[in-house]
């Protein structure tokens, strides 16, 4: 698997800037919560670049609504992730051995 190339990183960064701009009105108030939650997702998934992340962090320090949405998304995502990870199907006992037998190992 290859690392994200410069072109792809640039595309993501431009998308972030464009979406961020659309999320706020001229007065700087959050007007597009769904768009903003997509930005939150990118930040929480560790996929936003340093510049985008820094713009984002600056905003959530000063905008109560953005901060509330971010914290809520973060908590919900963490809760869902933890519960899904704890709820994994048990590996059938014979499967690993069956696989090894099937390839003669």
């Amino acid at each position: 698997m290859q690392k994200m190339n410069k072109e792809e990183m640039g595309e993501f960064s431009n998308w972030f800037k464009k979406t961020f701009k659309k999320c706020y009105c001229e007065q700087g108030n959050l007007i597009d919560e769904d768009g903003f939650s997509e930005l939150v997702q990118l930040v929480l998934d560790g996929e936003a670049d340093d510049e985008s992340r820094s713009v984002f962090e600056e905003k959530i320090k000063t905008c109560v609504k953005s901060n509330f949405t971010y914290e809520k998304e973060k908590s919900i995502q963490a809760e869902i992730k933890a519960k899904l990870c704890a709820h994994r199907s048990e590996l059938p006992k014979d499967l690993a051995q069956t696989i090894k037998n099937s390839v003669n190992l």
């Binding site: 698997m1 792809e8 595309e11 899904l84 199907s89 696989i99």
Partner: protein, 203 residues
């Protein structure tokens, strides 16, 4: 993509491992992921026997094409890609639970500009906290397979967008938007479920 095409693509950087190297790679780089592979297969098929068959088939292919695997690269992502292709190309056709939904149509709808308003949910943190893993897992199983897959790959298996893009053969921008739609769909399911079960009094 057909098996022949996959083979051709993988032959670009073909290795020439000895028998002992093959055994070593298979045991130490492939088999360590069997638990994750089974979980992924089970969440795709919802059937223990089908999941076992799918995982076994994936490992057989991995062994057959082991010279196409470059040692030290991401074995887990390589195996997940084979499993996903097997599921799409062969397994879905003979699955005991055939697809009832046109997923392209679903995705087109959820990717359209006017879909945003209808998928915004007001899910509360407390509601999710009240739920047990079985309920959240059930909600995940209720969303279309292409959307379920991105949540599994990202949130359960920890793949990056770049890795998911390679596993699923889709552009990275599509990974981002599909994951967002998928998470909204999951939230919608959880809100509906919470209402039914009386968890969400004011939602």
């Amino acid at each position: 993509m057909s098996e022949e095409q996959q083979q051709e693509e993988q032959q670009v950087r073909k290795q020439n491992y000895s028998e002992s190297e093959k055994t070593d790679i298979f045991d130490n780089e492939f088999m360590v992921h069997v638990d994750s592979m089974y979980n992924f297969a089970y969440r795709l098929t919802f059937d223990e026997d089908d999941a076992k068959d799918l995982v076994q088939d994936t490992y057989l292919k991995a062994f057959r094409f082991i010279n196409s695997f470059e040692r030290g690269t991401n074995a887990k992502a390589w195996l997940f890609r084979i499993l996903k292709n097997s599921f799409i190309n062969e397994f879905r056709k003979k699955s005991k639970q055939p697809a009832k939904v046109d997923y392209n149509e679903v995705e087109q709808y959820y990717n359209s500009d006017d879909a945003g308003a209808s998928i915004t949910t007001d899910l509360r943190v407390e509601t999710v906290q009240d739920m047990i893993g079985d309920e959240i897992s059930g909600a995940l199983n209720g969303i279309p397979v292409d959307f379920r897959t991105v949540i599994i790959l990202s949130d359960l298996e920890g793949f990056t967008y770049e890795e998911m893009s390679k596993i699923l053969d889709i552009p990275i921008g599509t990974v981002r938007s599909r994951l967002h739609r998928a998470r909204n769909m999951l939230k919608e399911k959880l809100v509906s479920y919470a209402k039914e079960m009386g968890y969400a009094k004011n939602e």
